[in-house]
């Protein structure tokens, strides 16, 4: 018998005796009273997220600041170019890394610096020397002030974490209210 079968066998044997339901004061139960998953009402208990986009952007900005991330709401591509140039000069960037996306290409190429694209594979030492990684994202989450990314949408696993600075360029419509919404999206 494989270890798998042994472990599953022990589990099945152990589970023949029922355990009390949470909050039931010791009465054993077969299954929970409701068929809906317990987290179905999570939205009612998690922190409030506001109903309008303005409120949600405000919440996102506040949570971002708590996490020490710098958030800028920009009106146009020109403003984006200017904002990126400002960071480039302040941080003295010399090379950046990015992936092949419509918005990320615009951002990385606007800097006038050499750009390492990771999509088709890359040399790790070369990525290590990049001062910043510029990526798009899948969603911005107002409730947490966080950004949802996948390795498919952001040029792999390392681009968003190896370079010392991570810059995310996103579209306004990508803001979602809370985690349940972000998860449904993913």
């Amino acid at each position: 018998m494989s270890e798998r079968e042994k472990i599953l066998g022990r589990i099945r044997e152990a589970l023949q005796v029922k355990a009390p339901l949470p909050g039931s004061h010791g009465d054993a139960g077969d299954h929970l009273p409701s068929t809906a998953p317990p987290v179905a009402h999570a939205r009612d208990w998690l922190p409030l997220v506001g109903t309008t986009p303005e409120e949600q952007f405000e919440l996102f900005a506040k949570n971002c600041a708590d996490l020490k991330a710098d958030f800028q709401l920009l009106a146009s591509r020109d403003e984006l170019k200017a904002a990126l140039a400002k960071i480039r000069d302040a941080e003295k960037w010399q090379t950046v890394a990015s992936h092949d996306g419509e918005l990320s290409n615009f951002a990385s190429q606007s800097l006038g610096l050499p750009v390492l694209l990771t999509d088709k594979g890359y040399d790790v030492q070369a990525l290590e020397k990049c001062d910043a990684g510029i990526t798009e994202c899948d969603a911005l989450v107002a409730q947490t002030g966080g950004v949802a990314v996948t390795s498919r949408s952001t040029g792999g696993r390392a681009l968003s974490v190896l370079p010392p600075h991570h810059v995310v360029v996103a579209r306004r419509e990508q803001l979602v209210a809370d985690l349940p919404a972000a998860f449904a999206f993913l």
């Binding site: 022990r10 355990a19 317990p38 987290v39 998690l46 002030g145 390795s151 498919r152 974490v161």
Partner: protein
């Protein structure tokens, strides 16, 4: 294998506890750190529309997960394997160590970089790998620090919370030859410089797992530093070791568990990095490990599962909230427990994972204040489990002197003449007892060394009642 002579574990515990409670500097330092945590945690809990409803939902979700554990593990495994992950099953620590060592040998690996995994502490992995000739690097800053000090982690979430900045700076200066100042930023930068090349050059990356999603076949890892992200991005081979109880049924469950883990564990709205891994590098992806091995660890968890009264101890999400509120933990600290899992949850599960008679003393090291049960985000009935451990320990190995003492008390209390005689004896001998209190001559010295018996009243209640009736009539 550690051989335990009768009573060694409990003697060690008492010695360490005595030493640590006498270290006022240490107690003050820990108290300050935990007060900061409490303030942040309360703010975050307050932001929830209903923290209590969230706890109930989390408790019910974990109940579903654990009470259908076999189904969920089967689903998890098949989904992981469908994307090319190799899933291994280990009944105990020795098997897990062997599986990991074999993978390292197969890959002709020299260096393994680790992100934090309490299960790896549980099976004493680092020591075994170093004995086998591999280089092991801890990438989590707290673990990196205690590794340099050749120490065990102090707390399951904050491994080096017992150290002040000055101590860390001295450590870095001594071991790494470099520490410009003692600010957290500068210290982190020192560790970062050391670590970056190690991520790139390591042959194998090793992680633990916070949650395993049965529905989609994912392992979710929560961290603040990003070291897990790098460990799982750069080395060619990735190994994840995880207890079988970490299962959650659905992907959507994370929307509740991730904020709750962050809130209860660290007083954060959300931890900096929460990553769900569903396989090794897939076709078309530019990086990621070529091979991913997931090792599911039992190591006596199935024994705890077989105890329906205490099965919910397996609901634990390892947030550390119970440690942070425990009056014992705050005063004796994490190292005193002498075992991987400390604090209330450690005191509940260690007797199951490592032997009831050897570790029952941890269940006695409690005031039963219930703060742990209240703090637990998944509503584990921790303080009642401590009572149950005590009951089980004394049922399986009764203490003869205790049994005798209770029997004698029963005889005296049920016989009015004996009770009267005992009272008179008490009045007579109390002044004598005061003279020898706490010394070798005192038969009750284990009790009286740190406790004062109040003076017995001159008039017992029965006598007062009798006299009162007389004066009334």
């Amino acid at each position: 294998m550690v051989k335990n002579l009768m009573g060694t574990f409990v003697t060690d515990f008492k010695e360490r506890a005595t030493a640590k409670t006498g270290d006022l500097r240490h107690r003050q330092f820990i108290r300050t750190a935990l007060r900061g945590y409490e303030t942040a945690r309360d703010r975050r809990k307050g932001a929830f529309q209903s923290w209590e409803s969230a706890r109930q939902a989390a408790a019910e979700t974990k109940w579903q997960a654990i009470n259908h554990l076999d189904e969920h593990l089967v689903s998890l495994t098949s989904k992981l394997e469908a994307r090319g992950t190799k899933v291994h099953w280990a009944s105990n620590g020795a098997q897990a160590r062997e599986i990991i060592t074999q993978i390292l040998r197969d890959k002709k690996a020299k260096c393994i970089i680790k992100s934090k995994a309490m299960t790896s502490e549980e099976i004493h992995l680092n020591h075994a790998l170093e004995e086998a000739g591999f280089i092991v690097v801890e990438s989590d800053l707290g673990e990196f620090i205690v590794q340099l000090r050749h120490e065990a982690p102090y707390h399951i979430v904050f491994p080096s919370m017992h150290l002040q900045r000055g101590e860390i700076r001295e450590l870095f200066q001594r071991e790494l030859g470099d520490a410009p100042s003692d600010t957290p930023e500068d210290l982190t930068m020192v560790a970062r410089r050391v670590m970056r090349q190690k991520y790139i050059q390591a042959d194998v990356g090793f992680t633990g797992g916070n949650f395993a999603i049965a529905e989609t076949g994912m392992i979710s890892i929560t961290e603040n530093e990003g070291n897990s992200r790098l460990t799982s991005a750069l080395p060619k081979t990735m190994i994840t070791l995880m207890g079988i109880e970490k299962v959650l049924p659905r992907f959507a469950d994370l929307a509740l568990f991730l904020p709750m883990l962050a809130t209860a564990g660290a007083g954060q709205p959300m931890t900096c990095y929460n990553t769900m891994y569903s396989g090794p590098r897939q076709p078309g992806e530019p990086d990621g490990p070529e091979e991913w091995h997931v090792i599911l660890l039992d190591n006596r968890r199935t024994e705890l599962l077989a105890d329906p009264e205490q099965r919910d101890a397996l609901h634990c999400i390892r947030c550390g909230a119970c440690l942070n509120v425990c009056p014992i933990f705050r005063n004796v600290g994490g190292h005193t427990y002498g075992t991987t899992y400390s604090g209330p949850v450690g005191s509940v599960i260690t007797p199951h994972l490592r032997g009831l008679q050897d570790w029952k003393h941890l269940s006695n090291a409690s005031t039963l204040c219930g703060a742990c049960t209240e703090a637990c985000p998944v509503k584990i009935d921790l303080h009642h489990h401590l009572l149950q451990n005590r009951r089980n320990a004394s049922a399986s190995k009764p203490a003869i002197s205790e049994r005798l003492a209770y029997k004698m008390f029963g005889v005296v209390a049920n016989e009015p003449m004996l009770w009267s005689a005992a009272k008179k004896m008490g009045w007579l001998t109390q002044p004598l007892q005061k003279m020898v209190k706490g010394s070798a001559l005192d038969p009750a010295k284990a009790w009286t060394k740190t406790r004062d018996l109040p003076p017995l009243p001159q008039e017992s209640f029965k006598d007062w009642w009798r006299n009162r009736k007389r004066t009334k009539s």
